[in-house]
Amino acid sequence: MSVITYREAVSSMLREALDEDERVFLMGEDIGPYGGAFAVTQGFTEKYGKKRIKDSPLAESVIVGAGVGAAMAGLRPVVELMTINFSLLAMDQIVNHAAKIRYMSGGQFSIPLIIRTVTGAGASVGATHSQSFEGWYASVPGLTVVTPATPSDVIGLFRSCRELNDPVMFVEHILLYGTRGEAPAASDYRIPIGKADVRRTGKDITLCGYSRMANVAEQAAGILDEEGIEADVIDLRTLRPLDSETLVNSVKKTHRALMVEETTRIGGFAGELVAQIQEDAFDYLDAPIARVAGAEVPMPYSYPLEQLAIPSADAVAAAARKLVNGS
């Protein structure tokens, strides 16, 4: 088994898509000669040419809108929004168009479009560049939202996303590109869309996260383990459709749950998770479901402040400890 980086995983999936399917092309800002803001498409223009690697103008709305149109006309575009912060400028195309055209047309047009984008804080790039909007997209009927946290999840989920015929938000995390992990052995490895991953099992508490926070939750579980607290760690992997079944079953076993989320707490997606857990596992709960989330502020640039604002493994462990020891 070979070890690869998250970045290599994304790159390899894009190459595979380009190699396997003539209908696939990439479009986005600086994905050409520049190689992508996160160096994911290095050398792509040389290999695939400008026809398939479309370095677009700096215009988010038309990047997504043109992807929607091309998808309606039979292609399978993979467009890139450099970061999810800029997706706000394309939100009309994503929410009012991509997500609704199939339904509004009475099912006549499908939109097989993959929108890759980058979420997350921690890169010291300030309030306008450190946000996490994947939860908003996960609330939109018509969209599919995936949030891979490891190289093999990138691979397994991207392949499955390519088989969908509806718009996908494929949300990568800014701090994960350099992280390493084992590449799946099977060349056709796939992860079903809407299936959470149980990263680790334990009887005392359920820690649930997605994207980078799934890794943070797993680290926290490691800390807790040394104290004799055994945690189930669940990586949702897909926010829409949501695998509440796996989450709920875990809580029915552990009777305690802690949701870990990077975005600010109020109105975050974790609220949805809490709601579903208590709807389906009410009688199993020994304590309120807790949440650890980002501080309720625009992200500050200053390093120590930013570190305070992002959930850490220690903060998660502390919250879990409190939940288990009831103090």
Binding site: F25, K51, K54, S56, P57, A59, S61, V62, V64, G65, A66, G67, V68, G69, A70, A71, M72, A73, G74, L75, P77, D92, Q93, N96, H97, I101, R102, Y103, M104, S105, G106, G107, Q108, F109, S110, P141, G142, T144, E163, L164, N165, D166, R240, P241, L242
Partner: protein, 339 residues
């Protein structure tokens, strides 16, 4: 004004066909306003009265495999493209037999069979989608053109700029067709666009071919569009067309449009494209009163049938509520009751 001799390729049948389509659109809209008053059509209703020459003149120059994208004021383009008046009326009424199964409504007419890629209700949004369809045509090495309709109001939107710029820099086969009726809802374009009186020149910012045409003259529109289609099909890149026209009615049926100066309204009433074309057909000795009477009667009949079809059509099945969100899976949270 063209003479009959200027359009030798058009037979009497073609010309009367144009007249009939314009008349059909007009009467269809009259009927839809009646149906709205009767409560059979709900929500917004934006009629096309006065702009018929644009849809008919432009769309009849397209090939069957060309693409059309338009805005929410879309009944005229749909009918000119050949969507059935029954299915369009049923859609306006939200019936299962509608061209979008009643899901879209007046502002969201679609027909995949006719490459009628949809009416869109977010002003400016469809220009981006049209650019993308054109991108697909270019990518596949095909030679269709994409005809994208929008209004003068849409020119204010950022998405107009992004789509125009992308189409220009990538030389996409798309025709951006602006139905310049002087108003965006209640706002006069004179107060929202410095270039309102030479709007087509805004395309110079993108180095794009640009044209202005009398949008109330069906033959002028057709004539220009034939030339443009040929250029765009030949790979000469996108074009921007501004057709000067006027809404004979308010923005929507709810709008009395009393913000418009009387003389302006008067002037344009005199420019009504249907009487103009009818007069032309007469003076050019192409059609007689009998021809018109016959056509008008058949149009009236078609509209009555459409209304009856719509009214007698069934509502969508309640279960349809949950259908069609995704191609690959059922949507979330379908109540057990409706499984």
């Amino acid at each position: 004004m063209l003479k009959a001799a200027d359009v030798p390729d058009l037979t009497k049948t073609d010309l009367l066909g144009f007249y009939r389509q314009m008349k059909l659109i007009r009467e269809f809209e009259r009927e839809s306003e009646r149906q709205y008053t009767r409560g059979n059509i709900k929500g917004f209703l934006h009629v096309y009265n006065g702009e018929e020459a644009i849809a008919v003149g432009a769309i009849n120059t397209l090939r069957e495999d060309d693409y059309i994208v338009t805005h929410y004021r879309d009944h005229g383009q749909a009918l000119a493209r050949g969507l059935g008046s029954n299915e369009v009326m049923a859609e306006l009424m939200g019936k299962a037999t509608g061209c979008s199964n009643g899901k879209g409504g007046s502002m969201h007419l679609f027909s995949s069979d006719l490459n009628f890629m949809g009416g869109y209700a977010i002003v400016g949004g469809q220009l981006c989608i049209a650019a993308g369809i054109a991108l697909a045509v270019q990518y596949k090495g095909d030679d269709q053109v994409v005809l994208c309709f929008f209004g003068d109001g849409a020119v204010n939107e950022g998405e107009f700029h992004e789509a125009m710029n992308l189409a220009a820099i990538w030389n996409l086969p798309v025709i951006f067709f602006c139905e310049h009726n002087l108003y965006g809802m209640g706002a006069s374009s004179k107060e929202t666009l410095v270039m309102w009186d030479s709007l087509h020149e805004m395309a110079a910012a993108y180095g794009m071919d640009r044209y202005e045409v009398d949008g109330n003259d069906v033959l002028e529109v057709r004539d220009l569009m034939q030339k443009i289609n040929a250029d765009v099909r030949a790979g000469k890149g996108p074009a921007f067309v501004v057709a000067r026209t006027y809404r004979l009615r308010g923005h929507s049926v709810a709008d009395p449009a009393d913000y418009r100066p009387d003389d302006e309204v008067q002037y344009w009433a005199g420019q009504d494209p249907i009487p103009r074309f009818r007069e032309w057909l007469t003076t050019e000795g192409i059609a007689t009163e009998e021809d018109f009477d016959e056509i008008d009667a058949s149009v009236d009949e078609q509209v009555v049938i459409a209304a009856e079809f719509g009214e007698s059509s069934p509502w969508p099945d309640p279960q349809d509520l949950y259908d069609g969100v995704y191609t690959d899976r059922p949507t979330e949270g379908i109540p057990a009751s409706s499984n």
